[in-house]
Symmetry: C2
Subunit: 125 residues, 2 copies
């Protein structure tokens, strides 16, 4: 039996709006709001715009982080969200970002992070 | 056949030094140096120390990002590094961080990000 410290969801978001994916202020606002919508506590926010296009940015939250990298020319964004504890659901952030990017479709996978082994004996106590 | 825009390595680093994992300046320096050691270009750096313990931080690089979350009391750090292009090898950053954290062991997996389908016809041209 095992338990994990965190949940890390990696999302491939396709068919997004070029104008949203290439706008630093919009991407930053969507990412911060994604954190807040899930009930996370925002600690640090950092975003960078590349030339000629593309945005990278991260929102550090008390519960871990949200990160984004956009390829406006491909309508694609690579999003990941790592959350600790049971209070915040990383999938809520995924769905929020996908909707705000006006995505055509999203595929995502969840990876358990920091799996701590719990012995059967300990569980039966 | 498919190709991907990026490589995302998620590493579980166990048996680390408490003193390193709980020192914001040390963790930040190790993360920045991990980026530089792989030949990445550092764009933004943001770190946060939690009370009573634990560090979260991110280094945004031109090639995407490196992120860390530490649990000093467990000797555990959750590290991930996302790189685009062929110039930077994300595994070099993993191995560097693991060594500097004086880790007992590390397990890691690589996930391809932004997989772009290439038709067989196009490849055969």
């Amino acid at each position: 039996m095992s338990n994990s410290l965190g949940r890390h969801v990696l999302a491939e978001i396709h068919g997004c709006s070029f104008d949203v994916l290439n706008d630093r202020e919009k991407v930053e606002a969507i990412m911060v709001n994604a954190a807040l919508e899930t009930g996370a506590e925002v600690r640090e926010v950092v975003f960078h715009k590349f030339s000629p296009q593309g945005i990278s940015g991260v929102v550090v939250i008390s519960e871990s982080h949200l990160a984004i990298h956009t390829w406006p020319e491909l309508g694609y964004a690579a999003f990941d969200v790592f959350t600790c504890g049971d209070r915040v659901n990383p999938w809520d952030a995924c769905n929020y970002v996908s909707e705000k990017f006006q995505a055509g479709h999203m595929t995502a996978r969840e990876v358990k992070r920091g799996t701590i082994e719990v012995s059967k004996e300990a569980v039966n106590l």
